[in-house]
């Protein structure tokens, strides 16, 4: 009886999940038949002329997510190491929850903060600094007037990904058998040598899976990105130019979408996002499977 109820609950969740997929696919159908596969790389988004393409938004999503991962992965792994092996227990018990609480900051609050506090700061200080230092790279072009850019959006997404990667890698490092680290220490290895020689090699696949899970969060973030990405058209070389992301495009356009084809194109964007999301999830699972980290990674709370 109770078992039957439990199975029904699981079935209900499954129905919801299939419902999501079914809705998204059927909503996207008109746009798929009209724009075809080239929708993915067309960069125009002009609803008035029915010239719609996902290129700009996909590029923005890719840039923001990549930037977040490039910054958050080393930082997150370092925090995981600090919390699991280096910090005194009492410090770790305070710092650990603080890091996790960064993930609890709602994206709307982070977005507002990003718009009013972070973007002007980035525009005034970070962009000129990076331009003067690394301006020979086209991605660090001249600063823009507002600070609303893919760069700022990427920074904001970093704030959301960092606690996920930190908490997961901390839990991973805690699963390393103490006999292994003790043995290495007994052989005279320094802290860093223990970490590099024992801890990281035994957990590397888990760390990769944690990064991919962080990526999943970064890809789907709509509201915070929507606040600071600046709604730019086309693909620009400079990170400091305004852009758009897939999820932010949906949040931005859907409530005001008028024509059926524009609505359908937004469902098409959602379909692309869904496919990418499921692919990253499958990737994380298959990497995690190589090492028994499924349990730890299952505990991700975004």
């Amino acid at each position: 009886m109770l078992q039957g109820l439990c199975v029904m609950a699981a079935l209900l969740a499954a129905v919801a999940l299939f419902g999501v997929v079914e809705q998204v696919v059927s909503g996207a159908e008109p746009a798929i038949s009209r724009f075809g596969i080239s929708f993915i790389w067309h960069t125009e988004w002009e609803p008035v002329f029915n010239r719609l393409g996902a290129g700009t938004a996909l590029y923005g999503t890719a840039v923001c997510s990549l930037m977040a991962l490039v910054i958050a992965t080393p930082l997150g792994v370092a925090i995981g190491l600090y919390l699991s092996m280096l910090a005194p227990r009492r410090v770790a018990r305070i710092v650990g929850p603080l890091v996790e609480m960064l993930a609890a900051v709602p994206s709307i609050v982070l977005g507002l903060w990003g718009l009013i506090v972070l973007a002007p700061y980035v525009q005034r200080h970070v962009e000129p600094f990076l331009h003067s230092l690394l301006g020979f790279l086209p991605i660090f072009g001249p600063p823009q007037t507002t600070g609303l850019s893919l760069f700022t959006a990427g920074l904001l997404v970093t704030f959301m990904v960092l606690p996920i990667i930190s908490a997961l890698s901390r839990d991973l490092f805690l699963t390393v058998p103490p006999e292994l680290t003790d043995a290495a220490e007994a052989l005279g290895a320094t802290r860093w040598e223990v970490i590099r020689g024992v801890v990281l090699p035994t957990t590397i696949s888990g760390v990769i899976a944690a990064t991919v899970l962080g990526l999943g969060r970064a890809l789907g973030e709509a509201i915070a990105v929507f606040f600071v990405v600046g709604d730019g058209a086309g693909i620009k070389a400079s990170l400091f130019a305004p852009g758009m992301s897939v999820a932010a495009r949906i949040a931005n356009d859907f409530p005001g979408a008028i024509t059926n084809i524009q609505v359908s194109a937004l469902w098409y964007l959602a379909l692309i996002l869904l496919v990418i999301g499921f692919a990253t999830s499958a990737l994380a699972r298959s990497v995690a499977r190589r090492f028994d980290v499924g349990l730890v990674l299952g505990g991700v709370r975004g």
């Binding site: 699981a10 969740a13 609050v109 960092l162 959602a270 028994d292 505990g299």
Partner: protein, 307 residues
Amino acid sequence: MSELVDGLVPDPYAFDPTAPLRASGNLRRRQLVSRMLVLGAVAAAVIAVASLLLVTYGVASHGASALSFAFVFHNASGFAGGGIAAELVGTAAIVVVGALIAVPVGILIAIYLSEFAGPRSRLGQGVRVMLDLMQGLPTIIVGLFVFGLLVNHHHTSGFAGAVALSIVMLPLIARSSYEVLRLVPGGLRDAADALGVARWRSVLGVILPAALPGIVTGVILALARAAGETAPLLLCSDVFNAGQTTINVFGVGMPNIPILILESSEQASPQGLDRAWGAAFALLGLILLANIGARMLLARSRKRLGT
């Protein structure tokens, strides 16, 4: 921690610890490298904590001036002034209705995974994959789904928002409850079985009560997460009649805090921005307090379970 989910047994001794541990022979250099990297790890932790403090400080310093007794307990008045009482009530109603859906379903799924599905059960594996996928759903897509299901051809409502939030909360609640249920000592189950107690009775009478504080913690964290979700509400519970207190979740639109912040911040008037900051401060404060409370509860129950 080491109990296996997927039945894969990792062999901790398979990897050869001698290989990468060749010393350079220069102890001073080795220790210097080590110390630098430890410092780097400390710096990373400082950066993370500093960013939390920066965001909290930013929100608090902008929002504190707006926050007052009247702001919390009065409704909006005029174009961009007044309080946020209606939105607070609306957010609470949406989250509570969402929880009424997500909590029972989530806990039942967790009970199924921990008590009825064996570690090698095919269905159990499938349910786990499904929870993973649900948790990975971008919330904006959840919003689109509920929009198509309940809003399109009808109207936006608090109930639609609640359904969307329940989909966001469900995997979080199922996952955290499952983890807590697994921590319940096997001896309790064995004792109940030995007394000839039926499975459903031992689950309801013995196992759930033992795991309750942990489950409550997970539920609070999920509620805190849902309270700040904006993307689904943008599509499901957008409002034009802001500032009217209502708990009728089936009515047209329902004022709520996240949408208030979004719309006030787009008004481009100093008053609107003040309102947005005040509401953001209230929301962030509530969520952080809920987080701290939930964690304290968890720590206490962990101590009691002896894990």
